[in-house]
Symmetry: C2
Subunit: 380 residues, 2 copies
């Protein structure tokens, strides 16, 4: 058994989720758009899933949830769908967003939109005042992630939302890293659109959701049937939605206990590492950021090499965004935070999850310290 | 237990498929873009699935398979992705295509493309000569479905392909209704792009594939990571792909026996119905079309009412395309075939599957005959 510390890349689905998907595949396989019993039963399962996902994020109405194939599609639908609805030709986002946002923005630029990429501070946060200054009368949408996938930094969304409301500009947030790790309440955040992904919260792969505040007009990206109120055509993935619904309920219930425990493990890991490797440097906002992320550079140690060495020791960690693996360019997030390219190339991301134990953390600290040539971290 | 005769709307996943998805969720949950063991194992499962799907359709190279979230996305990616690659500003399709094609064409028209919608004959077939005449030097793509979802008619794709090759125009085919029901061989068909869907072939919901002949340049629709050779970003749905791979193998193996058996059941159903209800009229190409489809109008009997009456008797059938349920407009496919709107509103679609038995067929014939006021069909 390996020690898995790459929960921001993906998470293992809970046993209950696997069982839920298998159950729905066997029992709720009807097409929800059909009129007969088999179809109506599938529709009922889909509606329950919608309510559970709505419950996770404090959505008032389950029908504000649009099921998609995952976080990338949710982000794409939010941006392209909002911009297609004729609100303006300008988008505001940040330099530290996920590639799903940045590359959709690049597509929008090719279609004639103008995009403002706001800088972030040394912790990875966007300044609300910069959002205020960037908004113009032609701004259709602001898109700001809730929690950064590479460093875990949480953006000041309520402040940004207040500005967007005042200026009557839609606010979207890519929140795929947040559920189960921090409270996500669309009312408290003040956003209009919010993306989540099943496989980041111990749910199924290939399913996600876009929450859209009631009354928000979106143009669909795909074209076909009138499923999901016409916003997302294609026969509904009922088993995936059901699995996401079950995962959403589990994440909501665990919120009272899991994040605090994971945070203390994450803090222990950093304490052990910095004691053993004084030159190690953590990136991001350990205090107010996500409970589970520790992004550290070990100067002089190439990140990809270190990941492979750790793999040989049965420890699985990432080099930032899994979506850009194989690229030799340093993380755009760390660069935006002012980290030098050399240091960015030496950074690995530990992202913890609900199943990690203290003994795992101690072993990881010991192995990493040995590999990067630090002192022993054996405290026990 | 009800009798299910709406296999063109969706199919129940095979037990092996349910088990395969559950296995992959529990065992191959890693992110295939990561470098360590868990990721490499998931990548291996994905590659095996790709080879199995390639095997189903006679694709030379597994990497010609792009996994998507289903048939609607495959169709959309084929059309939008081809048209975005700068080949021309004209598309040729037919009036009898699925809404996923027709509405994507409508999107393309809004972006400045010109679309020619070819008529079909009384059986629902496109005339290859009409394709020849429609192609211009500016034609980027021809899209012609393999088998029609509402009536089962099979288009003369090899003839159409020969014309497209001669004129150097890409040919896409929406083949989602075909696998497991008729042989699908991309080389014999001569197409360049072909869409399939998991849930139409007893595979998982929420997963499909687009086969793209090697060397065919497609622009991605979604934007984000570089998964699926950059054509379809988003963390790969490994469990869905694995389930589709298992379903593809099962469909391929059953091809020798199942279609012939299903065809004889379908023919028996039509024989019983026409004997009992002389005014009933079948639409489509029973002889050369898909083995499993029987689209019949019962003059004077509203299709939706009949579907609901049959549901009360435990018989589940469709009214044409499940994707347009709730619409009161008559089927665009039947209208294109020259059926009158009145008659089209009276047509229901029986679509059989591998699990249907002769006794089920006899019961359906008896119940339908009773409901539409015909003579008894009790032959036994």
């Amino acid at each position: 058994m390996s020690i898995y510390l790459d929960h921001n890349a993906t998470t293992a689905p809970d046993r209950e989720v696997v069982d839920a998907v298998a159950w729905a595949m066997a029992q709720a396989w009807g097409n929800p758009s059909t009129l007969y019993r088999q179809g109506r039963e599938a529709r009922a399962v889909l509606d329950t899933a919608r309510a559970r996902v709505a419950g996770l994020i404090g959505a008032a109405d389950p029908f504000e949830i649009v099921f998609t194939s995952g976080g990338t599609e949710s982000d794409h639908l939010a941006l392209t769908g909002s911009c297609g609805a004729g609100r303006g030709d300008h988008v505001v986002t940040s330099m530290a967003e996920h590639k799903a946002i940045l590359r959709t923005c690049a597509q929008l630029e090719q279609s004639g939109f103008r995009v403002t990429y706001l800088p972030v501070d040394g912790l990875g946060r966007v300044d609300p005042d910069a959002v205020r200054k960037a908004i113009t009368p032609k701004t259709a949408l602001v898109s700001m992630m809730l929690a950064n996938n590479e460093v875990g930094t949480i953006n000041p969304l309520p402040e940004i939302a207040a500005i967007c409301r005042e200026r009557r500009v839609l606010l979207h947030s890519d929140a795929v890293q947040a559920p189960g790790r921090t409270a996500v309440d669309v009312a408290a955040l003040g956003v209009d659109l919010l993306s989540i992904s099943g496989h980041k919260l111990h749910g199924p792969r290939g399913v996600g959701a876009l929450w859209t505040r009631r009354g928000t007009v979106l143009q669909s990206v795909l074209a076909g049937g009138s499923q999901e109120r016409g916003v997302r055509p294609g026969t509904e993935n009922v088993p995936g939605a059901h699995g996401l619904g079950v995962a959403a309920e589990l994440a909501r219930k665990r919120l009272a206990e899991t994040p605090a425990r994971v945070r203390s493990l994450r803090d222990r890991l950093w304490e052990l590492l910095r004691a053993a490797v004084p030159e190690a440097r953590a990136h991001g906002d350990l205090e107010r950021g996500l409970c589970n992320v520790l992004n550290v550079s070990f100067p002089g140690h190439d990140a990809e090499e270190l990941v492979l060495l750790l793999d040989k020791e049965g420890i699985e960690v990432g080099t930032g965004s899994a979506c850009t693996t194989g690229q030799t360019t340093p993380s755009h997030v760390l660069l935006a935070m002012g980290v030098s390219p050399q240091e960015a190339r030496c950074s690995i991301r530990f992202s913890l999850g609900q199943c990690n134990s203290q003994s795992e953390i101690d072993e990881v600290a010991a192995v990493v310290s040995r590999l990067v040539g630090g002192r022993s971290t054996c405290h026990s």
